[in-house]
């Protein structure tokens, strides 16, 4: 499984690097301006211009330029953002923890809740609880995450004033310790709920459907015949197998979750990578946009690789398959 997926990750990386490399160099006019954005022209001195031209090998043929580009990235140099007056990597890494917090919380919440509800619902297939849960989550799965986010914001933020409207912290509050944690949680609550709700429905539907098919398998019948307690059959025998597609899908859905986070962050003015993307779009800070694309893609690939490893632990059949 791992050996099979490595070419995929390499292909994905090449696509990202290719897009990042080709796009600015395709643009008419000064390539340096296309790479760095208009903001750079203000700060540009002749010396700096020569230095940048050389570090990107812009006076050389295209394949040498690509090599130079790869070398720069391998050294962790994603360029310099003249808008933020800081190295791009630094700008992005400064925002990354907030996005990781948001995505992490939403992923964990939606996966555990979704799998739990899916197993319970699939077990009670056709009964009242299963039917009502199925209908609820079906309806929920249709709503786009950012609409859920907007409604939550208008309802609990604007109308009821229960939660803060934007940001991740109360600025200049000087809070520390428990009060700071509570402040972060209050700011996190609405965006995480919006992200979780969308993903929860997908996890639930997938688990329930798998559970329904798994329950027809002979090994479940066998477990029953052995007289095992209900709970053991539900979780150890059927549930564990219903978990597999959720784990696989989490990797595939990660891109979608990142997309959802982008919009949620914009709606809630959250200072993560989504907010940064929005800012960079407004200020035409191309270097930062390229950096975000690269960092996000790398993270998504890394998580997928981690999931491959996890999969082997959950499903030992995979290890012996090759």
């Amino acid at each position: 499984m791992i050996r099979r997926n490595v070419p995929t990750y390499i292909a994905a990386l090449l696509i990202i690097l290719g897009v990042n490399f080709i796009l600015p160099r395709m643009m008419p006019g000064d390539p340096l301006m296309a790479i760095y954005g208009e903001e750079a022209l203000v700060a540009m001195t002749p010396g700096l211009k020569i230095y940048l031209l050389q570090s990107f090998a812009l006076d050389k043929p295209l394949w040498l330029q690509f090599l130079a580009y790869i070398c720069q990235i391998a050294h962790g140099n994603l360029g310099f953002s003249y808008y933020y007056n800081a190295p791009t990597l630094e700008v992005i890494l400064g925002r990354l923890p907030w996005t990781l917090l948001l995505v992490g919380c939403a992923l964990i919440l939606s996966a555990t809740l979704g799998v739990f509800l899916g197993i319970e619902s699939g077990w009670r297939r056709g009964k009242g609880l299963d039917r009502s849960m199925l209908s609820t989550f079906m309806a929920l799965s249709g709503f786009p995450g950012f609409f859920v986010g907007m409604v939550l914001l208008l309802l609990f933020g604007v109308s009821l004033r229960l939660f803060p409207l934007s940001g991740a912290l109360t600025p200049y509050s000087g809070l520390s310790g428990l009060a700071l944690l509570l402040d972060i949680v209050m700011h996190l609550a609405l965006p995480v709920s919006a992200l979780t709700l969308g993903n929860l429905a997908a996890n639930y539907l997938l688990t329930r459907n798998t559970m329904v098919t798994v329950l027809k398998e002979p090994y479940v019948f066998c477990a029953r015949a052995k007289g095992l307690p209900e709970r053991t059959i539900r979780y150890r025998h059927a549930g564990r197998n219903a978990l597999l597609p959720v784990v696989t899908r989490t990797g595939i859905w990660l891109g979608r979750i990142v997309t959802g986070t982008l919009f949620i962050e914009v709606i809630f003015g959250y200072p993560g990578l989504g907010g940064l993307t929005y800012q960079a779009l407004l200020s035409r800070d191309y270097v930062v946009l390229q950096g975000i694309l690269l960092v996000v893609a790398l993270l998504v690939l890394l998580v997928n690789f981690g999931i491959d490893l996890l999969y082997i632990r959950i499903d030992p059949r995979i290890r012996h398959a090759h």
Partner: protein
């Protein structure tokens, strides 16, 4: 693959709701010039007006009629969704089926590309591309379609692989049918239920992406888009105008996506026949 799409809809109430909602939006969009007499672009001095007989949903920050913009936004959304779905389904079908029939190195390379495209978050690539190229509506459609076919191609390839070994395909081949003939006369007709499902998924993706990009400020400024309306409305969400400005548009977009999701769920048993006896919820 002998599955009646009509039968799936008769059994599934969600599917019926989805069909009705989608039809309603489509009719509204087609009848736009008759339903709204006001030009969606025309600006007036009367901004932030509450709903009235003249402006059913009030006016926005530059005095444009909200209802008119909502209805014309539906046209953009449906047009983008429909064309993205057509393009993505065709690309997915041709590449998926040809991979299954040819196999070998071509198949190997294409499938790595497909997997890579499935993992990468498409929206971030689109954002970067459109930051450089000022897009018009057709460039947006083409770009979304080029990043949306991969999931379909994978499923279609897997299905074709199972068809490939069946007796009637062997029969067609023994009479001298080549890859192209077999694909056109046997495989694609057999795949049609799956193609419909893929079309619906791509349709939804297209609508979502267009609105999302416009919400971020990326779009064709000459067309009215739900995403742009929401982007403008969100900026004024602290005022008391959101209930007739932001909410109706958010709802319209949700209904469009919701209806396609329901239709997609209803047709899901086509892909996974083991679920069929369950689907009647």
């Amino acid at each position: 693959m002998h599955i009646s799409i009509g039968a799936e809809f008769r059994k599934n109430r969600f599917g019926q709701v989805g069909l009705i909602l989608l039809t309603a939006i489509t009719v509204l969009a087609l009848l736009a010039p008759f339903v709204v007499p006001v030009d969606p672009h025309r600006q007036t001095r009367r901004s932030f007006e509450p709903p009235s007989a003249l402006h059913i949903l009030g006016t926005n920050h530059v005095g444009q009629d909200n209802w008119s913009r909502l209805v014309h936004g539906a046209r953009t959304s449906l047009l983008v969704g429909f064309l993205v779905a057509c393009a993505a389904t065709i690309i997915g079908a041709v590449l998926g089926v040809s991979c299954a029939l040819r196999g070998g190195l071509y198949d190997g390379i294409m499938m790595r590309l497909v997997d890579a495209l499935i993992i990468i978050p498409a929206i971030i690539i689109l954002i970067l591309v459109f930051a450089y190229l000022k897009p018009d509506i057709y460039l947006i459609i083409i770009s979304i379609a080029l990043l949306s076919w991969a999931g379909g191609a994978r499923i279609l390839r897997a299905q074709t692989l199972t068809f490939k070994e069946r007796a009637h395909i062997w029969a067609a081949r023994s009479f001298g049918g080549n890859n192209w003939y077999v694909m056109r006369r046997h495989i694609v007709p057999d795949l049609s239920p799956i193609l419909v499902v893929e079309f619906i998924h791509a349709f939804r993706r297209g609508i979502f992406m267009e609105a999302g990009l416009a919400f971020l400020g990326i779009g064709d400024s000459t067309t009215v888009s739900w995403g742009t309306i929401m982007r403008n409305a969100v900026e004024y969400s602290y005022m008391n105008v959101w209930s007739w400005w932001l909410l109706p548009v958010g709802l319209a977009l949700s209904i469009a996506i919701l209806s396609l999701t329901f239709i997609g769920h209803t047709l899901e048993p086509v892909m996974e026949p083991r679920l069929r006896e369950e689907a009647s919820a």
